[in-house]
């Protein structure tokens, strides 16, 4: 029995290592693709030479343009994957994703607000949109959190509160779009597409800092989240403070989502699919499924970035569009694999 468990754990570790290798490969592929092209050898030399390399063109393209986008893609994909799995666990709902509770709608409204009235906000120009998107995501989180505090943090209350918040911010977003001039409307819509082209080392630093701040809690709650998968009644009877873990995880999900979408815009489906892929491959033990969901999210997003640059090198298609289109067949594939055992 013990050997069987060790074998199962070893297999899961192999899957994690495989995912890590896969992620490294797509990252390299992402670095080699772009409007100006760059062979693998040049990328390799450029990486070894560092940002201050002799070949200024290679150094600039690689370290100032592509690298921030690639690293941002990894961070955003990982944050959405992690947030998605945690969300599905605390809500016991396979349809949940970081956007279920209206976080993306709130971020979109914040961004639209900043695009329209950014000049009135006393912040440096490059940070106004992400700051507003981030702040609005936290406002959405606070609203749902408040509802959960008042009525109990049950999955039903969280989902219903989230849907109310989602519609509220979507309506406000629509109102701003209705009032905006055609030029401003175009900017709002481009932001909502979700694109890694908006990445910079500043956005990478901020998103990485948020993710790092959340990691200790995520690592510390792996067993609690796994226990929650036994159902509320079992988890509670095993001494788990179900509502507390649900509220704390909800805050972490809000932070991760805000960190992810504030800089690059709305990116759908990653947070929904990555958890399903992770569970299908390593099961429900969150020691394995959380890191795999993060890596799967990153692989999907970087893969979408590569695909976008490959099919349209001149005008890169935003990753948000590709993940939404590619997400549907991927979801079908996951459903087919899981079959009658269910997705939850």
């Amino acid at each position: 029995m013990r050997d069987g468990y060790r074998r199962a754990s070893a297999r899961r570790n192999f899957v994690l290592i495989g995912a890590l290798i896969c992620l490294a490969l797509v990252m390299v592929l992402d670095l080699t693709t772009g409007p100006s092209g760059m062979p693998l050898v040049d990328v390799w030399h450029g990486l070894l030479a560092g940002p201050a390399g002799d070949d200024r063109m290679v150094a600039t393209i690689l370290w100032q343009l592509r690298m921030p986008q690639t690293v941002m893609g990894v961070l955003v994909g990982a944050c959405l994957g992690l947030a998605g799995l945690q969300m599905q666990t605390i809500l016991g709902n396979p349809l949940a994703s970081p956007f279920t509770l209206g976080f993306s709608a709130a971020a979109g409204f914040g961004a639209a607000l900043a695009i329209m009235f950014g000049s009135l906000i006393p912040l440096p120009g490059f940070i106004v949109i992400p700051a507003c998107a981030f702040a609005m995501t936290l406002v959405a989180c606070a609203l749902v959190y408040l509802i959960a505090r008042l009525r109990g943090a049950t999955p039903e209350i969280l989902i219903l509160g989230g849907i109310a918040v989602l519609f509220f911010f979507q309506s406000l977003q629509s109102l701003l779009q209705f009032l905006a001039s055609p030029e401003v409307l175009q900017q709002i819509i481009f932001w909502l597409f979700g694109s890694l082209l908006k990445s910079s080392w500043t956005s990478v630093t901020v998103t990485a800092a948020i993710a790092c701040a959340c990691l200790p809690f995520i690592a510390g709650s792996t067993w609690a989240l796994t226990t929650l998968r036994l159902g509320d009644a079992n988890a509670r009877s095993l001494g788990l403070s179900v509502e507390k873990i649900r509220r704390h995880t909800f805050l972490i999900v809000a932070l991760l989502t805000a960190g992810a979408v504030s800089f690059v815009g709305t990116i759908g489906f990653v947070g929904l699919i990555a958890p399903h892929v992770a569970r299908a491959m390593v099961g429900e033990d969150h020691r394995f499924s959380l890191p795999l969901a993060a890596m799967t999210g990153a692989i999907i997003l970087i893969g979408a970035s590569v695909f976008g640059k490959f099919i349209s090198p001149a005008a890169v298609i935003p990753v948000g569009i590709i993940t939404a289109v590619a997400g549907v067949p991927m979801l079908f594939a996951v459903i087919a694999k899981r079959g009658q055992r269910g997705l939850a």
């Binding site: 069987g4 067993w223 226990t227 509670r236 095993l238």
Partner: protein, 261 residues
Amino acid sequence: MTARLVLRDVDVQHGRAKVLSGVSASIKAGQIVGLIGPNGAGKSTLLNAIAGQLSTKGKILWSGKPVDARDIGFMPQQCQVRADLSVLEVILLGRHEQLGWRIADDIMSAASRILAFFAIGDLAARSMQTLSGGQQQLVLLAQRLLREPQLLLLDEATSALDVRHQMHVLRLLKDYVARTGALVLIAVHDLNLAARHSDTVMLLNGGRLVGHGAFDTVITPDVLRSVYGIDAEFIPSQSGISVILPLSPTSIEANPMEETP
């Protein structure tokens, strides 16, 4: 000094309905206590109240102190698992507070022992989703015992088991009590099972404790008629414990059903 569970004027209210009213008892550890009574009598409510899952009035003390979650192993009535976790993983979660990134050898050994104790070692690698209701019940019971609780609260924990497994589990509980001196409170509907495997019984009716003591002193033909609304025959058996054979219901409307949590 033997531990003791003390209930003092325990009341539980669901909305306007009082589902438990003035329950008082003092129960010595080292025994299996059968919690019996008709549907809606308050058995589940009492177990949930002792487990700290409900807000209550009155006092519930274990060894003179309020019940600590670490002392108890509670298995509620509705606890089917739908997650794709293996049996061994579910057993290990019985000690989720002590688990780290690597499972400690002593916890793994304890899980192996408990699987062997319940004779379900062959299920260790199976997913919970592939088990029958009865098999899941066995696994979840084993999980609770991994915590080695001093106070084990079981709400119809053998309801999905066949007769052989019911007897097996109740014998295991008896061994567990003999080994650890724990107190087991088990809600059961089968009166014959309660008679055979409980040291004492507590009879609840309409949210009140109406009898507490040895089975044959609590359950009599008159009590069956007034509490359960049935006429029954008590057939002597070789074991010395009478077998209750229900004959006919007296009146069904005499026992209004109440909501249980």
